[in-house]
């Protein structure tokens, strides 16, 4: 990068909370018009850096310059005014306000006598939505939007203030297709903006970014040009050691001979209809679909979290009525569910990791209703080893753990229940490469030991690598079913978008 004055220049910034060191001597430099990736495992300090750049927290030491000027925002608004806008990973939209209001926070357009004008707000909102090709009603309550819609809105809001530096933290976590986002990014960079792009999906990064800066344990390891860095080297920088990523296809055994453990017959519900499939013992049945194709409702319905309008579910051949997760656990060989949203549906931040893991079976650790700390820890340790969760974390509050380890703990909880049927909804959302490996391994060994898995993933490679068979849902229906051999990204993508029925059928 030649002498052009950099859009953003961060020099040896450090930040620590109490005794916890989050960032130490981190430096990063963005050129105007470039898309710069920020890589690192969960807990490497990416989020902290984002917070500092966007003015949420102040660094303890370190210098920041923007276009040559010293840059030290004392609030988000200030940062925005100086031209730094952020789309946060934990979406920063206010649920009980409308799309339009959210787009104009914190200052809404004023009408006569300095009062907020609803009409103007709506107009402004509509304009923004139009400009960024978002087909939402400006009056819709954010609470009513799907996760993906919210993510788009979050991104749009960041773009809307035409920043000189744009920070996108995990912008695709909830998006299955990225064209829309990438187009926007390219437009912005073409206009000379610098983009700091944070994602765990390396293929996205390679597609979009020119350079990448890698963080590890709160330190900046270095910056590399992406075209001359192999995945291997990048992983090495991230996890500190060569990262052999081997994913062989599971030998698609003659699954059909194994007994069926979960049979769905003509299920219909909130946003899906006429869903039928059979999950067999030791099988990993993949579910592929763009977001909002009804898969979420389907999964929730299978553990009784959402109502079933019609259809029948058989577990171990017996007709069952699943009225709630607690019932599902006790049904047949047991059904456990790994939910979509870790923070809101998964963890109990204030409780220790061990307690989080054993909660479903808390009654079983100890006697006479009294919990034995020892038994609890043993049980937790046992199942956390299955998901390769370091046992030292067991005593921490789970809230203090990195997202990846939280996810491992939640998977451990699902296995802890002893259920032999797991419904995993996007188990690797927003977790780092290493953790993904551990989770894959855990899922496989679970299946090999006779467990059955229904697996939805927003990342196709996962399905390609893990699934024995794969269902493709589209518009709330099963659009295609492909046996292990046929699963590859090309056919999947085709099916996902609802095209080329005949090809997949063939």
């Amino acid at each position: 990068m030649s002498g052009a004055v950099s859009a953003l220049d961060v020099r040896s910034v450090s930040k620590s909370y109490g005794a916890t060191v989050a960032l130490q001597d981190v430096s990063i430099e963005l050129q105007p018009g470039e898309v710069h990736a920020l890589l690192g495992e969960n807990g490497a300090g990416k989020s902290t850096l984002v917070k500092i750049l966007s003015g949420v927290v102040k660094p303890d030491v370190g210098a920041m310059r923007m276009g040559g000027e010293p840059y030290g925002p004392h609030s988000i608004v200030d940062a925005r005014r100086r031209g730094v806008a952020t789309a946060f990973q934990e979406l920063s939209l206010v649920p009980n306000l409308t799309v339009a209001q959210n787009l104009s926070l914190p200052r809404q357009p004023k009408g006569s006598l300095g009062l907020v004008s609803g009409a103007a707000t709506q107009k402004h909102g509509a304009a923004v939505l139009e400009r960024f090709g978002l087909r939402l009603s400006p009056n819709a309550m954010v609470a009513g939007l799907t996760l993906a819609e919210r993510q788009r809105l979050e991104i749009t809001r960041a773009f809307a203030c035409d920043p000189r530096v744009l920070i996108l933290d995990e912008p695709t976590a909830a998006l299955a297709e990225t064209d829309w986002l990438f187009r926007l990014v390219r437009q912005a960079t073409a206009a000379g903006a610098a983009v700091l792009y944070i994602s765990h999906r390396l293929h996205e990064v390679r597609e979009l970014c020119q350079r990448a800066t890698v963080l590890r344990n709160g330190r900046s390891i270095g910056t590399v040009g992406l075209e001359d860095a192999t995945d291997h080297t990048i992983f090495e920088m991230m996890v500190g050691r060569s990262q052999a990523e081997e994913m062989q296809h599971r030998t698609a055994a003659a699954q059909s001979t194994r007994p069926a453990v979960l049979q769905a017959q003509g299920l219909a519900g909130d946003s899906f209809k006429n869903i039928s499939f059979t999950l067999r013992e030791g099988e990993i049945l993949g579910v592929a679909g763009l977001e909002g194709q009804g898969q979420r409702a389907l999964f929730r319905a299978l553990v009784g979290l959402a109502p079933l309008a019609s259809g029948s579910v058989k577990v171990d051949g017996a007709l069952v009525r699943l009225s709630g997760p607690d019932v599902a656990l006790k049904t047949g060989r047991g059904i456990a569910f790994l939910p979509e949203e870790r923070k809101t549906e998964g963890i109990f931040p204030a409780l220790a990791t061990a307690s989080n893991i054993v909660l479903p079976v808390i009654g079983r650790v100890g006697r006479a209703g009294f919990v034995s700390e020892r038994l609890e820890r043993e049980a937790a340790a046992e199942s956390s080893s299955q998901v390769d969760l370091n046992s030292r974390y067991l005593d921490f509050r789970i809230g203090d753990l990195s997202g990846g380890n939280q996810q491992k703990a939640l998977l451990a909880r699902a296995m802890q229940t002893g259920a032999k049927i797991l419904l995993l909804y996007d188990p690797t959302r927003g977790v780092d490469v290493g953790t993904k490996q551990s989770i894959y391994a855990a899922i496989r060994s679970f299946a090999e030991s006779g467990g059955s898995v229904l697996l939805y993933s927003s990342e196709l490679p996962e399905l390609v690598h893990l699934a024995d068979r794969c269902l493709v849902v589209y518009g709330g229906r099963i659009f295609a079913e492909m046996p292990g051999g046929d699963i590859n990204e090309r056919t999947l993508v085709a099916a996902l978008t609802g095209h080329s029925m005949q090809e997949t059928a063939a």
């Binding site: 009980n96 914190p106 809404q108 299955a176």
Partner: protein, 336 residues
């Protein structure tokens, strides 16, 4: 692209009108208003005097103090807090007005300013404790409530004193032979609220009440939102104390105590979500009016006074259940 398509599909049912209507129901004001109408009909059926000017005037004079206090409380509740200090502020402003009566319109103004001053001051203290020092609102305001009650006792150790006659008679009177002035004052509060609805501060209030982190990441200052809520509430409590004094025309160091539970009942009845972020000051006001009306209805209904409590309780529960059902129906209806 297809993603966008389904995104649009999911958020299709957002047509302006139905939305406004739904919001009207879901923020509770609608439901409690219906309840009020029903009760008032019963009351009018059983008591001829209900529809006379004096009847209406009594109702509004009776309800005004609680209504305004509830209005204040709802501000804090919307921002996801509890404010017990209402009891202290009402007592304090009441004894102040009775100890230092000032005659005439000017006097009324002076007294009003005193009351607002007291309320505002205690509101500021609450704001500092809760918004800045981040104490739990229910605990902090318990403290300020007790202090307020104490000060009231210091100023006046037994009921007595008189509120200036001009103030107490004029403000409980009727304008143009039909409109009770106390009612007008409540309407004024409603008007202020409707104006406030159109400020960034108000949006901030709701945002903070619903999701503090998201709000702050959206650039809203949580501190100032909370602070505004408590100060605004304090001012309204002061006004409530003023109206109470106007009605009772005298001072009583424990005058505010009954307001504590009643305001919360009114707020909840008015459909303001006690978990924050949802509700309307109007709802709280109607809720208060409903509570006061209920006493009258039970009286004219001739319910044995031992058991009036049972009816009050049942009505409260029914109102809430009904409200939540209607709003949920409205919501689900919109989704379908």
């Amino acid at each position: 692209m297809s993603a966008n398509a389904d995104a649009a599909a999911a958020s299709a049912p957002g047509s302006n009108l139905s939305l406004a209507f739904r919001r009207g129901l879901t923020d509770g004001a609608g439901v409690v208003a219906i309840l009020y109408v029903i009760l008032f009909t019963l009351y009018a059926l059983w008591d001829r005097s209900a529809l006379t000017v004096s009847g209406v005037t009594n109702l509004s004079n009776n309800a005004a103090p609680l209504a305004i206090a509830a209005a204040g409380e709802s501000l804090v509740v919307i921002s996801k807090g509890f404010d017990l200090s209402v009891a202290g502020v009402v007592s304090l402003s009441n004894v102040l007005m009775a100890s230092y009566p000032v005659e005439g319109p000017g006097g009324a103004l002076v007294s009003l300013l005193i009351c607002l001053g007291v309320g505002g001051a205690i509101g500021v203290v609450n704001g500092v404790l809760v918004a800045i020092l981040r104490l739990q609102s229910i605990a902090a305001t318990l403290g300020t409530m007790i202090m307020g009650q104490g000060l009231a006792l210091v100023i006046m150790d037994a009921p007595g004193g008189t509120v200036a006659d001009w103030v107490s008679y004029t403000l409980t009177d009727v304008l143009f032979g039909v409109m009770p002035i106390s009612g007008l004052i409540v309407l004024a509060v409603v008007g202020l609220w409707l104006l406030f609805r159109h400020t960034d501060a108000c949006t901030g209030l709701f945002a903070v009440g619903a999701d503090e982190t998201a709000a702050s990441l959206s650039g809203i200052s949580v501190v100032s939102a909370r602070f505004t809520a408590f100060v605004g509430a304090g001012l309204l409590y002061g006004l409530a104390g003023f109206m109470l004094s106007v009605q009772t025309a005298t001072g009583n160091p424990t005058a505010g105590t009954p307001f504590l539970m009643l305001t919360f009942a009114a707020v909840a009845l008015g459909g303001v979500s006690l978990t924050g972020g949802r509700g309307s000051l109007v709802g709280a006001i109607i809720g208060a009016a409903t509570l006061m009306l209920l006493q009258k209805v039970l009286f004219s209904g001739g319910v044995s006074s031992f058991y009036t409590g049972i009816f009050q309780g049942v009505v409260m529960v029914l109102a809430i259940v009904f409200g939540s059902l209607v709003s949920r129906l409205a919501a689900t209806g919109a989704r379908a």
